[in-house]
Symmetry: D4
Subunit: 161 residues, 8 copies
């Protein structure tokens, strides 16, 4: 895997308003040298397009999908129903219920179709989780994850208050 | 509309274990002389089949869909994304969270794709709501709804304790 | 049905402060060529007026009622108890509990009297749901709904990020 | 006020299934020598009857109403909208949400129409609260309440474990 | 009862920061010609003072107590344990949990010691509820409550949108 | 400190029905050689007795109080308001809300009066926490706590599945 | 990868009582020909052992860890802090709060240390998610996942009700 | 114990952003003449450092630890698993869920490893609780706690509104 070449991760979000949250996933992936493709495809407003995109994902070389959605957040679960790739779900913080609806709509999937759910609004962790998954196959990602963990620990040690 | 002939309502549920709950919708509809078709089609385990079924629904003469699902309950929302028919969602009571997850997964739909949500496990009301919807077109259903309401009021008046 | 003539939908809200939320329902209906009448009638502060208004609704030609209320939100359920028309409930986002109280007060109706509940504050979807209901009787509304869905899908396809 | 003569308290419940809970209110009232009348009148299934009953309540000599209801529990709030008598609301424990829906539907009333809410399923306390209210007018009830409090304290003091 | 003379209602709050909320109770009571006394007495920071104050309340002529508190809100329940007067509890909206903690701490009292709970932050309704309670003894308060209800209904009828 | 002699910990509970839960605290304390006294004293049904008991606690040689209560659970907070001893609160699992009401009523104390809260129904941990507190003064308790921790770790290591 | 030879997945649980839930993960993995090792190692009762085990995991050839825990469920997060392998968290259904505590304790991880969370009690999905992750490296697992998805869809199509 | 000399309390927080909340604990302790040491050590980003720090705590003379963390807040529980000192947990208010996640992650510890939990964001109470614990050994702290309680009561008595 040479960096920034072929996207290994597809980042999909339900609405353009999710972009500010979801681009943290992209930033995380860049830190680990993983290229990604980012798209707005609503499970509700464009179901056909979502089907096409997710069905083609594996054939196009994607190895992980990251899906962000809010409220009655069906995008990650529907994607996980269409592909057998690992799907990571990011519950976007919703207005009235602060993302509790998004979280439950994503994490409480029925037996047979898992979504790897991260915390509310935590697209950064979705990117890191994708890197952890890819690291089982790409040793250079594993090395970068190790360095990242070491850097976090070092920063904690040096924190002055 | 002659009774019990052409099904006007399609009842779909995510799992066979939802049948006990969902047949209350069928019973309600029978009370108002409305025929229905009942199917198990999981949005997650058989997404293609769901797409086909819901896309064909209007052409086959359905005028209302009732969808029951539990947990991360995507069936009603996905159906509402595929058809422009009115879709009624029944949140099935889930084990750990007692249907709060099902309710939020169904009712909190994004702008553009509404699901007419009833109470947790209340498939009976889904059937009556379908009848109320049909009653704007079929006067005989309106008449039966009026009789039903009168009967409910009468029973209350006669309740002895 | 010629556009903007006879109102087919009555929009009722519990308080004038709900107006900003509820006029989204009106806007939605306009998009589908459906005329509506909008009124503030509190179930709590003017119960007699609500009774009169809802009892007369069907005779005045209304085919769907949309009711918005917040907190201990009784308006939609009480309206549904008085008429057999389909009643759509909009849980208004409340201050302390963010509309969770409104949602549960509206959706958890007892068997016999359904309210078609939409998401918290989602009056736009209430308007679209009313249009979906009317579309089973008025083909021109069905056509507009189809165009609306196509437009949503097209917009998703053209979203650039 | 001579005991057991004229009922001063009306106990209303939404459904006959609430009777087991609500008769605790009656028992409490008996303990304080207050007569009551108990009725099943659903706000949803018999709205006209409820209006009549509550409108007539003050004229018939009632001084407090106790209303029990579950789920989207509108009975206490609607009663409080019709009468200016003090209305006590008892949230009946519901199946899926354990009475949280009932509680919020009763307690979160809008400004202007209060319901004196007690704990979930706590009809006993509704009876005692009615007695406390009546005690400001009827000294013999006040005396019985004092004795009741003394007895509770004495029992605590004598509890052996 | 001549207006503004002897206070019939004691309003107690746990903290001076509750004053902005609680003075709505005072305003309500003024509307019905009921005098009140308002005090800050924390159940936690000054338990002895609370005991003294509440124990003396009946002897001093109070007929209703209104207690507002937030978070782990013990003031209303402790007051209700000390006196047999009717005690109204106002759950003050708390910072982190928005008053859900205050509500449950007040409403879920054990059998034997009821607190008449109103909605979160709804001190206005606490004042009106106190007036309703007093109205069973003071006909002039009943008359004012009737006028208040009529005025609310009239305002609704005249609302233009 | 010689074992089982002078009780250092007072265990108080709101109701005799809490005994089954609370005796786990006693068992825990026995394991660490700490004597305790166990009493039923409701903050609501016997407020005077509670005041006396807690005010006298320090003088009688108690160094920690453990208070268990359910629902609107005021016992631990009221005790903490009366004494400056460390007070541990055990939220008893309540029927309708499963102890969420008990937990919030205990843990969300206002600034100035802390209650050391343990998990819902977890009286065992209340006992161990009391032992941890006493261990800063009594080395023999510290030793027993160390042995207890070692035993737990050993048992985990030996667990076969 | 030849089946059942070297374990690629480590399944860890906080308590032996979690075994009944967690063995569903093992069953899932068997279905996809993935060997695993299952251990009880509490983050709380044996923190040293957990550190050793997780630190050694990658060196021993594990590529995914599945961690199940209930209540204040720290096991998955602590494991994810020690290793850079992908860690899947299973919130065990807890007694009082039905796993809501477990879910939030696992999914709401801070930025930098993700846990791939599945639904409450859904160890089956944890196993399938581990298989999806491994499938990006092991084509035979990918094939088995495809067959599994096809079988699920087929079963839905053949469901008779 | 001479004031401000040897720190008896260690205050640890998961992130520098928790400092604003946690320094209230330090302020409280100063009020009671108790010295403390304050450190940022994340359980997730620097698990080794946390282990070392907490393992050494008792040997270094600490008698109480105060740990603040938010979201999936593991710091207090992990600390309590490593030491037998009393550990006080402060649930930091989180962004989306307002600290409900933090609270449950801290308070719902399994049997055997208690965390003395205070209210959401209530580091002030954590400091006072630490002082109450120390007061069983250091009479001068007990005296200061008594004065503090008297001052609070006096301030309440003098509050004018």
């Amino acid at each position: 895997m040479s960096e920034s070449k072929k996207p290994l991760v597809g980042i999909i979000m339900g609405s353009k308003s999710d972009l500010e949250t979801m681009k943290e996933a992209q930033k995380s992936l860049e830190e680990f040298g993983v290229a990604c493709e980012m798209r707005v495809i609503s499970a509700h407003r464009a179901p056909d397009l979502l089907f096409e995109y997710v069905k083609a994902a594996k054939g196009r070389g994607f190895e992980v999908l990251i899906c962000g959605a809010g409220g009655a957040a069906h995008l990650p679960g529907v994607a996980a129903a269409i592909t057998t790739l690992p799907v990571i779900g990011v519950p976007i913080e919703s207005k009235a219920l602060h993302g509790m609806d998004s979280l439950l709509s994503i994490v409480q999937m029925p037996g047979g179709i898992p979504v790897a759910t991260v915390g509310i609004g935590n697209a950064k962790n979705a990117g890191i989780l994708a890197a952890r998954i890819l690291s089982i196959k790409y040793p250079e990602v594993a090395t970068k994850l190790k360095n990242y963990a070491d850097k976090m620990a070092r920063e904690v040690k040096e924190t002055k208050i």
